[in-house]
């Protein structure tokens, strides 16, 4: 990452502009700043809600600027595209230089570089310079991958180097960023996402694509056998939503599996997630007691929900059209389970009314009969709501994730380290000078150089 430009060309060329880090910094901060908008204006709200919140003028301005859908807005994606382009141009411009540096010949000991190191460790060893060089080589070879020895006039020199390739680390991060963007594009072009709602006992073989408002055929049929809600023992907190499904594929035996939150079903590149649930209707039987107030005769009829049953005493017929688990009063109070009753007489208009279920004390007089709903044996029929997605780009994105972590490790915590050692003869002793440089974390390497110097000093 050598940014020292020797001569600044007068003309600002296209390449120089797009390769500049100033542009990257500007873009990074602009993306950060504009991302804030989307967190302040709730993006999932409807246009009507926005209109009510902001009034006509602000609404028009925000709508034109795409503030209600920032992250899908053209200008936001243009910013991301520009950042990617900046990155590519920057890489193309710098990569050859880095590549030459990394694959080039080992520079070896250089007096000029050695002189430029400010902090050097100096000591005298009680051995000849040649012996000292052998000792030093022994120690340095264990710690550095590339080691060369040489002469500098009277003096012997040792040069150790390691981690030159780590100068490539930041390309990994940049590549990773491009991979993630590419994966996102692949996902939005070739993928889809939608929802299916399957009542228990029914099946679907297509899904409505949210973006394109069209039906997509699935390569299999999915049947919801049952749906279950599990609670933590003794609480009303839900512990699990589970859909028990049967998958029917052409030319294969149907097989059963489950879909839970955090445990999606992945099949032929399509993912099915447990997303929501609902109760479509109820099935079961309800006991209704009818009393003739004149004679005092009572009769209990067991009726099936949504099926017509005869009224006793030849009064006509009745049906429970709907069972409601929690009937809400006008002020929102939960009044418990209720049934919607329809009573039909031979002549005259039908009566439609709500009755609480399981409260024999509650009575209504309709068509000359006292009606009480004694009890019911009712089970809900659930509808499971599954999110269906296909995203062929996700593996590209994940590859980017891994690459970015590796890149961070290499770029931040590994350095190109160079160690310079000069051993000058001083009578029958030798004078050792040690200095080191690293392109990153110089203090860390300074400490390492000190340890190596101490090791050599204690070797005599």
């Amino acid at each position: 990452m050598n940014n020292k430009q020797t001569v600044k060309k007068p003309e600002i060329s296209f390449v120089a502009f797009f390769a500049s880090v100033k542009l990257s910094i500007f873009l990074l901060l602009t993306v950060a700043a504009t991302s804030v908008i989307g967190t302040l204006i709730p993006q999932e709200a409807s246009l009507r809600e926005h209109y009510q919140n902001f009034g006509p003028t602000l609404f028009r301005i925000f709508d034109t600027l795409g503030f209600f859908n920032v992250y899908q807005a053209k200008w936001f994606q243009f910013l991301l595209g520009l950042l990617a382009f900046n990155l590519i141009v920057c890489t193309l411009k710098r990569f050859p230089i880095t590549w030459k540096l990394v694959t080039g010949v080992t520079p070896g000991f250089s007096q000029g570089k050695f002189n430029s190191i400010k902090e050097k460790h100096q000591f005298t060893l009680k051995m000849s310079a040649q012996q000292a060089q052998a000792t030093v080589l022994d120690i340095v070879r264990k710690r550095f991958r590339t080691v060369t020895e040489g002469r500098e006039g009277e003096a012997f020199t040792v040069y150790g180097e390691k981690g030159r390739w780590t100068r490539m680390g930041f390309y990994l991060i940049h590549m990773a960023f491009l991979l993630i963007l590419l994966g996102a594009i692949i996902g939005s072009v070739f993928g889809f996402s939608g929802y299916v709602h399957i009542p228990e006992g029914e099946s679907v073989q297509s899904v409505e694509n949210k973006q394109h408002e069209q039906e997509m055929a699935l390569p299999f049929t999915i049947k919801c056998d049952s749906f279950s809600l599990d609670y933590y023992e003794g609480t009303r907190s839900i512990s699990e939503f589970t859909s028990f499904v049967t998958i029917i594929e052409p030319g294969k035996e149907p097989w059963q599996t489950t879909i839970r939150v955090n445990h999606p079903l992945r099949l032929h590149g399509i993912n099915l997630y447990q997303s929501t649930y609902d109760i479509s209707q109820h099935s079961g039987t309800i006991d209704v007691q009818f009393t003739d107030p004149e004679t005092g005769n009572s009769e209990t009829v067991t009726t099936t929900i949504t099926q017509m049953s005869p009224l006793p005493f030849d009064k006509g017929s009745f049906m429970i059209t709907e069972y409601i688990e929690h009937l809400r009063s006008r002020d929102g109070h939960d009044m418990g389970p209720a049934a919607r009753m329809h009573m039909f007489s031979e002549n005259g208009p039908p009566a439609v009314f709500m009755m609480p279920v399981g409260e024999p004390d509650f009575m209504q007089n309709k068509m000359g009969l006292d009606v009480r709903v004694i009890q019911g044996e009712v089970t809900p029929i659930y509808v499971t709501g599954l999110k269906v997605t296909k995203d062929p780009g996700v593996w590209v994105v994940y590859a980017g994730f891994i690459l970015i972590l590796v890149g961070c490790l290499v770029t931040f915590f590994m350095a190109h380290q160079q160690l310079y050692i000069k051993i000058s003869p001083k009578g029958n002793r030798s004078f050792v000078e040690i200095g080191g440089t690293a392109n990153k974390n110089p203090q860390g390497f300074e400490e390492r150089t000190r340890r190596i110097a101490r090791r050599i000093e204690n070797k005599e």
Binding site: M1, N3, V21, K22, S24, I25, L28, L29, V31, A32, S35, V36, G38, T39, L40, P42, Q43, V70, Y71, F170, A184, S193, Y232, E233, T235, S237, I238, S239, E240, F241, R260, V261, N262, H263, P264, N271, Y273, Q274, S275, K387, T389, V394, V397, Y398, F401, I404, L405, C408, L409, F412, F413, N441, P442, Q443, G444
Partner: protein, 345 residues
């Protein structure tokens, strides 16, 4: 399993709060009076606090099993704050051991103390996990995120020391901002008890906040000027006790790199988890977006430093902006914005 009554995680953690507080006082005393015995006791208190904090988390983990729905203790604001102070203490102790910078303790220990004290105000009930949180990614996601946050918090402490040592005007801005936000929050809370009108609330928050910010900022600026007049060379004992600017600059940067790496890992584990729970690795939900904003700010700082050669003041300022984004991601999003992370309040 039956545990003795005094061994209750919330009680242990209350004690730890006071230990961190005492450690903070000792670190300050050490900075001011320069007595080795003070520094050593501060470190020991910090170590004891850290061990207690570890024990508190472990106990809470056991308690979830006693209550019958065993799960990792990282699932709500209370538990995350406890873990946050744990990571701050851990990182600080590592840095103190490696770099012998005790003056950092004067800022790290109060942060650990504040996190735990704030935790004490939260709901401590052990609730069973909702289905979306029942995932192996929970631990990986929380651990990585909080190591990142804690590193940024420690880097913030280092940045403050840098500004103190440099006797930089940025301190006036920083203290002004802290007091301004504090005054605004207080004003809105107090006014909120009397009125529901949005404009009254916003007005009182704005004017009282701005007033607090200006007053604190100008006061700090005046103090800095006075100190500079009396001691133009920075030879005063309190300034001299602090490490060199170059050392602070490099150490702040190294800590931020560490935090950046873990924030990256945190965002990634979150994305992978979201993909298995909701079928989308990125939804631009406010928490995700704010973590990305934080990431972008620190990325800018790293680029400015590596490629454009920024050092010292300017990178320190950027790291302060970065840390305010961290705080907003952690606290602001939960309280002010709605989104998928709603269970974290």
């Amino acid at each position: 399993m039956v545990l003795p009554e005094f061994l209750e995680s919330s009680l242990v953690l209350s004690v730890v709060t006071f230990i961190y507080g005492a450690a903070a006082v000792l670190y300050w005393a050490n900075w001011i009076f320069e007595k080795p015995v003070l520094g050593r006791s501060a470190t020991w208190l910090m170590v004891i606090g850290f061990l207690g904090n570890t024990g508190g988390i472990a106990l809470r983990w056991v308690e979830t099993y006693v209550q019958g729905h065993g799960r990792a203790p990282f699932t709500n604001l209370y538990e995350s704050l406890v873990f946050f102070s744990w990571t701050i203490a851990l990182l600080y102790l590592v840095i103190e051991k490696q770099h012998k910078i005790r003056s950092l303790g004067a800022f790290a220990a109060p942060l650990a103390f504040l996190a735990l004290a704030y935790a004490a105000l939260q709901n401590k009930d052990i609730m069973p996990l909702m289905p979306a949180l029942k995932s192996n990614w929970l631990i990986a996601h929380v651990m990585t995120c909080f190591l990142g946050y804690a590193a940024f918090a420690v880097a913030f402490g280092l940045a403050v020391i840098y500004l103190l040592k440099a006797r930089d005007k940025g301190l006036a801005w920083l203290i002004g901002a802290i007091f301004g936000i504090g005054a605004a929050t207080l004003a809105v809370t107090v006014t909120g008890m009397k009125t529901d009108s949005f404009w009254t609330l916003a007005g009182s928050g704005f004017f009282i906040g701005a007033g607090g910010a200006l007053a604190a900022g100008f006061l700090t600026a005046t103090i800095i000027n006075l100190i500079k007049q009396n001691d133009p060379e920075g030879q005063g004992r309190l300034t001299k006790m602090l490490p060199d600017l170059g050392v602070m600059d490099e150490l702040t940067y190294q800590t931020i790199l560490f935090g950046f790496m873990f924030l990256t890992a945190g965002i990634i584990t979150g994305a992978v988890w979201a993909n298995s729970a909701w079928g989308r690795y990125w939804s631009w939900d406010p928490k995700e977006t704010w973590s990305l904003i934080t990431w972008l700010i620190y990325a800018t700082m790293i680029h400015a430093r590596l490629v454009r050669g920024w050092r010292g003041r300017r990178t320190i300022y950027l790291s302060l902006v970065g840390f305010s984004a961290v705080l907003f991601t952690y606290f602001g999003v939960n309280t002010l914005l709605k989104g998928l992370h709603s269970y974290a309040t």
